[in-house]
Symmetry: C2
Subunit: 220 residues, 2 copies
């Protein structure tokens, strides 16, 4: 029943099972995205989605625990890839540079647009918003792990935690700005996201100041 997915990336030859699995998986995410665009993330039921994807309601739940999980799937995948890439960066690279490179590594135009779109969808749907917060939080935990080998061995948990959280906060801020700027119709620009992320990480690295301390009202 399921059509084989269009791009078959290199690697070990996939069995028919893996092929089918990937195909339904993509059918679901595609249908979920389409329906979310049409009716909002909370504007349709699992039955509708299952029918649109050509599977049974029960099968949907074999793949995803909720509609939101299906809609945010691209975000999760992106963040997984991004922070996995951290381990491929040279060990002596400064943390901020490594993170920047890892996150903005291989983001294409369409993926960037998709990420922004899903990000901004959460404005209209609380469930989706919470899901996305959760995904970013999971990413933060991955980042903490990835950061440990790059921090002095005697670093406190507090530092690791606060630093990872701050970096994630910068990434979210950059994503949010990119989403906001994308709304007016112009194509989402990976370069713009890269620049925003770089800018926010620079702010972080400087302790959010340009002249000695976090800006006071009177400081300039």
């Amino acid at each position: 029943m399921p059509e084989p997915p269009t791009p078959s990336p290199p690697g070990p030859p996939e069995s028919r099972r893996e092929l089918n699995r990937r195909a339904t998986h993509e059918a679901i995410t595609a249908a979920a995205l389409r329906l979310a665009r049409e009716h909002g993330a909370g504007g349709f039921t699992v039955d509708t989605l299952a029918e649109a994807a050509g599977i049974s309601r029960r099968t949907f739940f074999n793949y995803f625990p909720s509609i939101e999980a299906a809609v945010t799937q691209p975000v999760e995948e992106f963040l997984d890839r991004a922070f996995a890439r951290l381990y491929e960066r040279p060990a002596d690279e400064p943390i901020v540079d490594a993170v920047l490179a890892a996150i903005t590594g291989d983001v294409g135009q369409e993926e960037m647009a998709l990420l922004c779109e899903v990000y901004s969808m959460s404005a209209d749907d609380e469930q989706l918003e919470r899901m996305q917060l959760w995904i970013w939080d999971k990413a933060q935990q991955k980042l903490e792990e990835g950061l440990k080998p790059r921090l002095p061995a005697d670093s406190s948990e507090l530092l690791t935690d606060a630093l990872a959280g701050s970096i994630i906060a910068c990434a979210k801020a950059a994503m949010r700005q990119a989403s906001g700027q994308t709304a007016p119709g112009q194509a989402a620009d990976p370069q713009a996201f890269h620049d925003l992320l770089l800018a926010s990480l620079d702010l972080l690295r400087a302790g959010f100041n340009t002249n000695g301390s976090i800006p006071h009202p009177k400081d300039n």
Copy 2:
């Protein structure tokens, strides 16, 4: 039917309606907390909770949209108070100091213990975890508003966003450490939380470095 709440703080004399409302509200949160302690946050149904609070299932949903919302109510209230207090701090106080004072302002021993307890409960319950992430995110939005008057007028949204997010990340890190340290039975200490928060905010203010830049693996 509902008992009047124990402490009736000063202010305009409450009508019977307001009194009853407060009473059932507290009855619900108290029952929710008790049940969450006994069975975990996801370990009981709304029917059980409603019965324990002495109300009907339907009435519960007039007060809270979910069990998690009832359990995390103290956290939400705390963060609301905390960031509202930001507006009472002197306008020329450095941001970090103002935030520190606002958050650790009037936290009592019991409240601190409660916050830590709820925080650590989310380890066993995904719904509760997402709820709490959402509450902290709402707090971040409040913080952004409170930050604006304290930042140069020409500050970018990116800066406001990234700074607020980083501060929240520090607060969460401090809360997490406090929760972790509290587990071993010793009473939760507001002072310890204050110190943790101060430490993390100092790290943030210093751009997470002690000697010039975010620490490299070889830097010490």
